[in-house]
């Protein structure tokens, strides 16, 4: 379930079956969440007070600098947001005017997780449910990247599949 406030900002979230998974928090953003599950600091290029950007990553605020961030974390550009058992994926959203606008990453279940600006974390089933007019929505998905899962992720995915099998 999502709150009426969130449903008003993202009209397609309800139909998607999205759920809220954390309270609102201004300390971290979608980049911190999807890059490192970091809830301690806001990731952003430019050096503003209270923010963090990894050394050695482009910081010119172009869309490519956000792609560079995930490439430095081991991701490679790919096509297709479909679930691949041995790969973790991230989806970068963009608008023509602003460039990068949002990132979310794929969970072991195949659903996606997003930190919405200063708002809540959510789990959602499609990427399209966050698309639309920025800044309330995030434009459209421009780039998918993926990297091979580590052993822990693979075990978690196996466990998820086994649980799902017995639930059926």
């Amino acid at each position: 379930m999502i709150s009426p406030e969130l449903a008003a900002k993202f009209p397609r979230l309800s139909a998607d079956g999205a759920t809220e998974t954390s309270p609102a928090d201004p300390v971290y953003n979608c980049l911190a969440w999807s890059a490192k599950r970091d809830k301690t600091i806001w990731w952003e290029p430019g050096g503003q007070t209270g923010t963090y950007w990894p050394e050695g990553v482009r910081d010119d605020r172009s869309f490519e600098c956000f792609v560079d961030l995930f490439e430095k974390l081991g991701y490679k550009k790919c096509n297709g947001s479909h679930f691949e058992f041995f790969y973790k994926k991230v989806a970068l959203y963009s608008t023509p005017a602003w460039g990068f606008s949002h990132v979310c990453d794929q969970l072991n279940s195949g659903a996606w997780t997003s930190k919405l600006s200063e708002d809540k974390d959510i789990e959602h089933n499609s990427l399209e449910c966050l698309e639309g007019s920025y800044p309330s929505e995030f434009g459209e998905v421009k780039q998918i990247l993926k990297k091979r899962c580590n052993a822990v992720d693979i075990l978690a995915r196996m466990a998820f599949n086994i649980r799902s099998f017995f639930r059926r």
């Binding site: 201004p26 007070t49 963090y52 602003w98």
Partner: protein, 220 residues
């Protein structure tokens, strides 16, 4: 035409996206916004005007659109802010300038004819009302932004800094109170207004907030 002056940019953009209701506060022209849907409005192909002269009220100001030295203010270059909101200066000017001039003139006449004179002790209250309106507008218009610099490019943020430049001490205090009770990313505005920075490199939101609240604890 060449580059649009920043002050005109703010005026034109808000003329395009909102019904403006103006009144004068000291040297600043203040407007209330009737339609705070900036982010969506600029996506439309057609721009419509909503203008309501009967709605003028000193208690509902939202937007300051003028200041002493606007060129000193932008934290984001004009062409970037323009680009960010998908409206070129030339497009804006060709579509809107006549209409805006007409409406500004109409309000100037109206303001000249008004008999309202603020009491001396109304000033501080009015500054607080204007600040709160601008802050509320900025927060709601940019609440979905994933990056802070997108929020800093919003015209209301610049309007708020314009207004703060003319009422510096009062607004610094109001921002510190806002930071305490309703935390948001006010650090760059405070740095800009105070010419100081009590935060340390590597501070996150909470530690930067703590540093500023300690810095200004006697003012809150």
């Amino acid at each position: 035409m060449g580059r649009l002056h920043y002050q005109d940019f703010v005026r034109l953009v808000y003329g395009a996206s909102a019904g403006l209701v103006l009144h004068r506060h000291k040297d600043t022209l203040v407007a209330s916004e009737r339609m705070a849907v900036w982010g969506r409005e600029q996506e439309k192909d057609e721009i419509s005007f909503r203008w309501d002269e009967s709605a003028i009220t000193k208690n509902d100001p939202y937007l300051a659109i003028s200041c002493d030295k606007p060129d000193e203010l932008p934290l984001v270059p004009l062409d970037y802010a323009t680009k960010g909101y998908s409206i070129s200066a030339e497009e804006l000017n060709s579509i809107l300038v006549d209409e805006i001039k007409r409406t500004i003139d109409a309000h100037a006449k109206l303001l000249a004819s008004t008999t309202y004179k603020p009491e001396p002790n109304e000033d501080v209250k009015e500054i607080e009302t204007i600040f709160k309106g601008l802050a509320k507008n900025w927060k709601s218009a940019t609440a979905g932004s994933s990056l802070i610099y997108h929020r800093f490019a919003h015209p209301t943020y610049h309007s708020l800094l314009c207004f703060a430049k003319n009422n510096k001490e009062e607004v610094i205090t109001l921002i510190l109170r806002e930071l305490k009770t309703n935390p948001d990313w006010w650090f760059e505005a405070l740095k800009f207004l105070t010419n100081t920075d009590p935060t340390k490199k590597g501070d996150n939101f909470n530690s930067a907030r703590e540093a500023w609240l300690n810095w200004g604890k006697e003012r809150i």
